[in-house]
Amino acid sequence: MATYLDFTASRVRTKLSENSCITCGQETRSGDHFCSNCGFQLAHASRKPTRRPINLQRDLTNAGVFTLVLGAIIGLFGFLAGIVPILALGLGGLILGAMTLLIPESMSAKAGRFATFSSLPALLNIEALIVDLDVSSRGIYIPTSGFGIIPKVLVPLNDSVLDTLTPFPKSKLSRSRRFFVTLGTGMFERGILLYSPGEEIVQAVESCLQLDVGTIKFSELADRIGFVFEMLGISRRGLSLELEGSTIQFKMDLMSLVDLEERLRAVTPRLVEQIGSPMTSAVAATVAKVTGKFVRLHDSSVTGSVLTGSLELLENSSI
């Protein structure tokens, strides 16, 4: 009995210790924000908040009311005393108060974040599929053209597929509705064809610009897409793209998708590494559409709120 109690107590201690997840007991490292097993957000995560805290909306409302009332009092005092600069200061306070009350973050932005996180189960399914099939190849974004037609991502079942592929029409591949596609004659020359995790983002970009991103020149891509990313509240200072040979380095300062990026890195590491997170995938899909070349994700990482990564243009690919 004593042995059983000792065992139970030790399990409880282990569960409550700072180095384990309180829901599944999985060991965690000190810098982890989410459990690598179940995805639970760890209580001891000590990262700096990268997005607006929940009560900031209330703080701004209080600040707005305070500024409005203060402006009214100062303005009234200036009016009664006949001091024009004081009256002007009061009017300025009224305008500032109105701005603070009316402009702050809308509920639609919060709903947007909720909608973003609701896509997590779908991404967990892709992760489970990659793990179950034990696919180690990186996904290849297939170039497409046309408004609203977003590149799909092909994940070869075998790394050698790329070297032995027989010519395969790009359009046929991009329009295929099959899940498993046969690319060559050998039994292992197959791949899985997935919708890009960043499809919705690319579609939102095309809707905002009202054009097929494939018609944009690569030299203008960063400016055009970066502007839309800022407008959609995705990134702060747009998007940076640098072409070096057949490698494209990208960088952006995320606003609203930082939590999703961090969480995906913890719970869907293979998806993030082989196919890319929604944001990385959106960049890869856009580049594939603009360049008309097959694009493979090389690497990506998030430091604070800055997402960086590199893409590889498969220029000599025979598919």
């Binding site: 600069p85 305008i95 500032l96 702060r236």
Partner: protein, 87 residues
């Protein structure tokens, strides 16, 4: 410690600083007409909003509402001056 401000917070801070500077500058120039101050605030409002755009679409809509209201006041001041000039 790095302080990261959202665009809207930058807009509000910038506008607050500009209002204080405008009042200080105009009062030092002995400007006595309140409409001059209001006109300056209105022009500065549009400049600050444009300089710190874009915001979320919902925010943009609200900015436009405030902007439209302020523009009506600005137009009224201008029209009044024009009428006085024409008299």
């Amino acid at each position: 410690m790095s302080l990261r401000l959202e665009r809207i917070e930058i807009s509000l801070l910038a506008y607050a600083v500009i209002i204080l500077c405008t009042v200080a500058a105009l009062s030092s120039l002995m400007v006595s007409g309140i409409d001059v101050y209001v006109a300056a605030f209105i022009i500065e409002y549009f400049i600050v909003i444009l300089a710190t755009a874009p915001h979320y679409p919902a925010e943009t809509r609200r900015e436009r509402i405030i902007g439209a209201m302020l523009f009506v006041i600005f137009s009224e001041i201008l029209i009044r001056y024009l009428i006085e000039l024409l008299k």
